[in-house]
C-alpha cells in the first residue's frame, strides 16, 4: 500500500537565509499518530507548513495521497488542502466571528465562492458543523463569539474546524503549548479519538517527551532542521533523547561561560 504522505529531501531556506529544514525525508502511513518532537526553532512548524504549502519548500518533494503538492497549481493545492486539517498553537480562530462560522469555515474548500459569500450553507454542512461541535463537547457554544470561549474550548473549536474538512491527515502545530498542562491531555485525547475512530493520520508537533511517548505511535525528532530520529516511542528513551538534544544544552552552557 502506498504511503499517505511521503516527504522526500525537503529543504527550506527562508529569504533571510535562515536554514529551517535540511534534507528531511520520511513517510506517514494511513492511521499513524506521528509526534514531531523538537525544541523551539528546530523546524517543526516549518515542516508542518511545508506539507500543506502554507510555506513554500525550497527543495524536495512532497507526495500526499498520490498527488505531488510541491508542483500543484493553486486549484489543485486547494483540493489537497481540503484533505489535510490543521490545528494551531494559537488556535487561529477568527475571534469576532461566531463559533459556528469558524467551524463552517473548515468546509470552504467544498463550497463555491458565491454560496459561501452569501452564507448559504447547505443543511448537510450545518448538521455537520453542529455534529463536529458536539463531538468536541461544546455543542451549546455554537452561537457564542469565538473570543468568549476559554483557551481549551477555542482549541476544541479548532479541532471541530478540522473535522469539517473530513480530512485524511491532521497536522497539529504545538496544539497544547498555549494551554494549561491539565488541558493538554483533554485536547490530545480528541486527536487520539480522531486517529483511532476515524483512522485519520495525525502529525502532531510537541516539545514535551512524556506527552510524545504517551500518544505517539511513532516519533520523529528534529534538531536544527535535521531529522535526528525516526522510530517507535520505545526506542526514544531518555538516553537517546539526551543524545539528540544534550549537545545543544552543553554548547549553550559553554557560550554562557565564555
Amino acid at each position: 500500500m502506498p504511503a499517505l504522505l511521503e516527504v522526500k529531501n525537503l529543504t527550506k531556506i527562508y529569504e533571510d537565509g535562515t536554514r529551517a529544514l535540511t534534507d528531511v525525508s520520511f513517510s506517514v502511513q494511513k492511521g499513524e499518530f506521528v509526534v514531531l518532537l523538537g525544541l523551539s526553532g528546530s523546524g517543526k512548524s516549518t515542516l508542518l507548513r511545508c506539507i500543506n504549502r502554507l510555506v513554500e519548500p525550497t527543495a524536495g518533494e512532497i507526495i500526499f495521497d498520490g498527488r505531488n503538492t510541491t508542483t500543484a497549481s493553486f486549484q489543485e493545492l486547494c483540493q489537497i488542502r481540503r484533505d489535510i486539517g490543521m490545528i494551531f498553537q494559537q488556535f487561529n480562530l477568527v475571534k469576532r466571528s461566531s463559533v459556528l462560522r469558524n467551524v463552517l469555515s473548515g468546509r470552504l474548500g467544498y463550497v463555491d465562492t458565491l454560496r459561501s459569500t452569501l452564507g448559504l450553507w447547505s443543511a448537510a454542512d450545518m448538521r455537520r458543523a453542529h455534529g463536529a461541535l458536539k463531538r468536541v463537547g461544546i455543542p451549546e457554544k455554537a452561537y457564542n463569539r469565538a473570543d468568549e470561549l476559554s483557551g481549551g474550548q477555542q482549541q476544541r473549536v479548532g479541532i471541530a474546524r478540522a473535522l469539517m474538512q473530513g480530512p485524511k491527515l491532521v497536522l497539529a502545530d504545538e496544539p497544547v503549548a498555549s494551554l494549561d498542562p491539565v488541558l493538554s491531555h483533554s485536547i490530545l485525547q480528541y486527536l487520539e479519538a480522531l486517529n483511532k475512530e476515524d483512522g485519520v493520520a495525525v502529525i502532531c508537533s510537541l516539545h514535551i517527551p512524556t506527552l510524545a511517548r504517551r500518544y505517539a505511535s511513532r516519533i520523529l525528532a528534529l534538531n536544527a532542521g535535521i531529522l535526528m530520529f525516526d522510530g517507535t516511542p520505545k526506542l526514544l528513551d531518555n538516553a537517546k533523547f539526551k543524545e539528540i538534544y544534550g549537545q545543544d544544552a552543553e554548547s549553550v552552557e559553554e557560550e554562557g561561560r565564555a
Binding site: 500543506n52 502554507l54 493545492l77 486547494c78 483540493q79 489537497i80 488542502r81 481540503r82 484533505d83 489535510i84 486539517g85 490543521m86 494551531f88 494559537q90 488556535f91 487561529n92 480562530l93 477568527v94 475571534k95 469576532r96 466571528s97 462560522r101 469555515s105 473548515g106 468546509r107 470552504l108 474548500g109 467544498y110 465562492t113 459561501s116 459569500t117 479548532g158 474546524r161 469539517m164 474538512q165 497536522l171
Partner: protein, 391 residues
Amino acid sequence: MTTPKPASTQAPIQPPRQLGKRLLNLLIIVIIVGMHVYGWRVTEIDLAKLAHPPINLKTMVSDFLHPDLFSRQQKSARVYVPFIVPCDSDLKPQGSVGHGLTLTPTCGQTGAEVAIVLEDARPNTAGRLNWRFPQGSSTLLRKFTTNETGRFEASVAVPQAPLGQEKGQQGAEVILEWEEGAMRLSETARAVADRMLETIFLALMATTFGVLLAFPVSFIAARNIMTTNPVGTAIYYITRLILNLLRSVETLIWALIFIVWVGIGPFAGVLALILHSAASLAKLYSEAVEAIDPGPVEAVRATGAGRFQTVLFAVVPQVIPQFIAFTVYRWDINVRMSTVIGLVGGGGIGFLLIQWINLLQYRQAATAVYAIMIVVASMDYFSGWLREKIT
C-alpha cells in the same frame, strides 16, 4: 583643589575643535531667520491693518451677531384724505377718503396749519404720516405710534410742494405697519435649512459611494494580502501610487474639475468628495487590513479555501470595527468639506454663503455660518460618540 595632581605637563583635555560645526549651526540659524523675513514680506503681514479696521467691519460684526432667523408676517394699513390748495380752487377732491382720518380744514395755502386726527385705528401701532403732492410724490411728516385706543393727533403745516405742484389736490396719508401671527423661520433660515439638508446628504452620498469604492480597493492596497506573488506586488504598488496621487489633490480642486465636467451644482461636489473619500478611506482601510492577526488567515487558507473566501472569512471579520470607525470619521470630514465645497460651486450651503458674502448681506451670511457651526459641531460629537460605541 588641594589634592596633588600627578606630575604632568599636559594641558587639560580640550574639547575637540568644533568651529566647523558651530559655523554650520550659525548658517542654519541665518537661513531660518532669512526664510521667515522673506515669508513675512511675501505674505504681506501688516499688523497695522489689524489695528485699523475699516468702518464696515463694525456693521459686519453687528450683522453677524444678529443673524436672520425669525420673522413674522408683515401687515400694513393705509388711509388717505385729500387736501385742496388753495381753498378757492374748483377742484373736486378725488381718491379714497380714509376711515377715521380727518383733516381740519380740508383746504388752504402752503404753510397753513392743519389738524390731523386718526381715530379707531389699530392701537399701539407704529405708523408714518406722509404728505402727498399732486403728482404723487410725498414727504414724510413724522413717525408716530397710536395710543391704546388707536388714536393719533397732530398739527402740521402744509409743506412746500415741489416746483409747479403748489396748486391742486394734495393730501395726508397715514400708513400703519405691524407684524402679526407667530414668529416664523425667516426666508433666509428656510433657505439655509434647505441647503443644509442638501449639504448633509451630499456628505452622505459621498461617504457611501466612497466606501463602496474603497472597500474592494483596500484589499488590493494591503501589503500582506497582495505581496505573496510578483503580479500581486506590482498591483499593490500601482494601487498605492494611484491612491496617493488622488489624495494629494484637495477636494476643492477636484470640485473645480468636476464642475467643468458635469456643471455647477451638488453633483460635482458629490463626485469630488467621492474621489477624495475613496482614496483616503482605501488607505486607512488597507492599513487596518495590514494590521490583522495573520493566524486566522493561515488557518482558513489551510482548509483549502480560495483567495476570495480567505479574505472574506479570515480578514473581513477582523477589520470590520476599524472600517466602521474610519467610515464615521470620514462622514464627519465630508460634512465639513461639503459646507465649503459650495464656495467653488459644488452645491450645498457654501453656495448660499458665498453669494450672501459677495452681496454684503452679512445677516443672512451669519445665519448660514451659524448653521454650519451647529451641524459640524454636532456631527463631530455624534461621530465621536459612535466611534467610542463601536471600538
